[in-house]
């Protein structure tokens, strides 16, 4: 089989059983089959109705290797919910500030992901100090080309509703 095609970025959504070693077991095929792991979005507290833990994995691979990875995951009995073929060619990073925790951080991130054509590549939370309720988070999304404007407007809408501040990036292009 020829493997001359360029690597593409893929997102795989998994549901893991809440047992030690499951995450590691799910990630092993990616490396073994020649994929390049980009990020893992994993929230232990956020369980599905069946008591599983949703995990979103971004990886880079050629289409052939990607297929082999998904096959191997299924063979291993890992619950593959969605094996996306979306291509996230651009990255968008925003800062969110406000009462991130009490306004439901997990729900905020899920809504951003579900209402935009994006994947969460990274999220870092900086918790409040002292008595302040203000916490901040840095959210990095993988988005499709040309989706920046739409993605930002969805984020702004969700943030407005939750009284969160969004600090958007300024791109070097622009003027």
């Amino acid at each position: 089989m020829s493997e001359t095609r360029e690597p593409t970025t893929y997102t795989i959504r998994l549901e893991l059983v809440d047992e030690p070693g499951e995450l590691l077991r799910a990630l092993r095929p990616i490396g073994e089959k020649g994929g390049n792991l980009l990020s893992i979005f994993h929230e232990r507290g956020d369980k599905t109705p069946r008591g599983h833990i949703p995990v979103e994995v971004d990886l880079e691979a050629t289409p052939e290797r990607y297929e082999a990875i998904v096959d191997e995951l299924r063979t291993e009995g890992i619950n593959v919910i969605q094996a996306g073929t979306e291509r996230y060619s651009e990255s968008l990073t925003v800062l969110l500030s406000g009462d991130l925790v009490d306004t439901g951080l997990s729900e905020t991130l899920t809504r951003i992901r579900e209402n935009t054509n994006s994947t969460i590549s990274d999220f870092e939370l900086s918790a409040p100090q002292g008595s302040s309720d203000i916490s901040s988070g840095r959210l990095r999304l993988g988005i499709e080309e040309g989706e920046t404007g739409h993605t930002l407007s969805v984020i702004r809408e969700i943030a407005d509703e939750k009284d969160l501040q969004v600090v958007e990036p300024l791109y070097e292009g622009g003027v």
Partner: protein, 320 residues
């Protein structure tokens, strides 16, 4: 040129003090309560001394300055919003007498641009307002030299107070309130800093640029600007930005006919990541690429230099 200066704050006083050095004569100086006029030139030093000692520059009525002998009115009263009075009335008085007008006050060109341009059309006098955008930086004259039709947009840091606060917060890891109090102690921030930290001042400058770029096809006022200040920017957010090689600056933008002021992340090594009270503007052009202009956006002598540059341009170009 013979100058009538209305307004004796940092800018008006500096214009008065520097005028002679730049070859001009101050024939009138007015504050809100009084005026001193002399067709042969007033004694600037004693007028400003009297202002300091007695709270008034002279014994005349403020109206005397507008009715006296002068070629160019320098409007340097504090910026007011809405009807932009009394500055707008001063501009009208000068134009009705066919005098030139140089504004340091943003109100008339930010809130009543079409009205002011209409007054100018009816007059032999001409309008300039370099000092209203970016203090000492030649922003409007650069746009004028390129031709507004060849400018695709501008963006930049247009408020020194907000920039001082954000850059101190980023470097020292201190909270907004702490740095703001420090800025007030240093005289960088006013006792009531809302005009600066809520983004209004930067927005007015952007609105003025938008009016220039629109070339009469559309009029902008503060109400057309989407404005968000720096009050809610937390030191946590700055820390997270820095972990990503970026920092936060209050950025004003005039792009595609819209005006926006908001805190934005920019790369730490970006020309827009100026520190302290420094200002910077990027001007996008169709043929000259992107021009960066940086410098002091506030300060008496700095802003006065922009006023005097306007006066010089008026003096060196014939009326049409």
């Amino acid at each position: 040129m013979r100058l009538a200066i209305v307004g004796t704050g940092a800018v008006g006083a500096s214009v008065a003090e520097l005028a002679a050095e730049y070859g001009h004569t101050v024939t009138a100086l007015a504050d809100s309560r009084s005026a001193v006029t002399d067709a042969a030139g007033i004694d600037v030093e004693s007028a400003l001394a009297r202002k300091r000692d007695e709270g008034r520059v002279g014994s005349g009525d403020p109206e005397d300055a507008l009715n006296g002998a002068y070629d160019c009115l320098v409007e340097a009263t504090p910026t007011t919003l809405g009807d932009a009075r009394p500055a707008y009335d001063h501009v009208r008085a000068a134009f009705e007498r066919d005098r030139d007008v140089v504004l340091a006050n943003k109100g008339p060109v930010a809130e009543r641009y079409a009205d002011v341009r209409a007054l100018e059309r009816e007059s032999e006098g001409r309008l300039r307002f370099e000092a209203t955008v970016g203090g000492a930086m030649p922003v409007l004259s650069t746009i004028e030299d390129c031709g507004p039709a060849h400018v695709t947009g501008i963006r930049g840091v247009l408020n020194g107070t907000a920039n001082f606060v954000l850059s101190r917060m980023a470097v020292e890891g201190l909270d907004y309130e702490h740095v703001l109090a420090e800025a007030q102690d240093l005289g960088v921030a006013e006792a009531d800093p809302s005009f600066d930290v809520e983004g209004t001042d930067a927005a007015l400058k952007c609105v003025i640029v938008a009016n220039v770029l629109a070339r009469g096809e559309r009029e902008y006022t503060l109400a057309d600007a989407d404005v968000e200040g720096i009050v809610d920017v937390s030191s946590n957010a700055l820390r997270l930005a820095s972990g990503d090689g970026r920092t936060v600056r209050l950025i004003g933008e005039v792009v595609d006919g819209s005006v926006r002021v908001a805190p934005r992340t920019v790369p730490t090594n970006s020309p827009l990541a100026v520190s302290g009270t420094e200002n910077v503007v990027q001007i996008g052009t169709t043929d000259a690429g992107r021009l960066n202009v940086s410098g002091r956006g506030t300060g008496g002598p700095e802003t006065a230099s922009a006023v005097l540059a306007d006066v010089r341009r008026l003096e060196s170009t014939a009326r049409d």
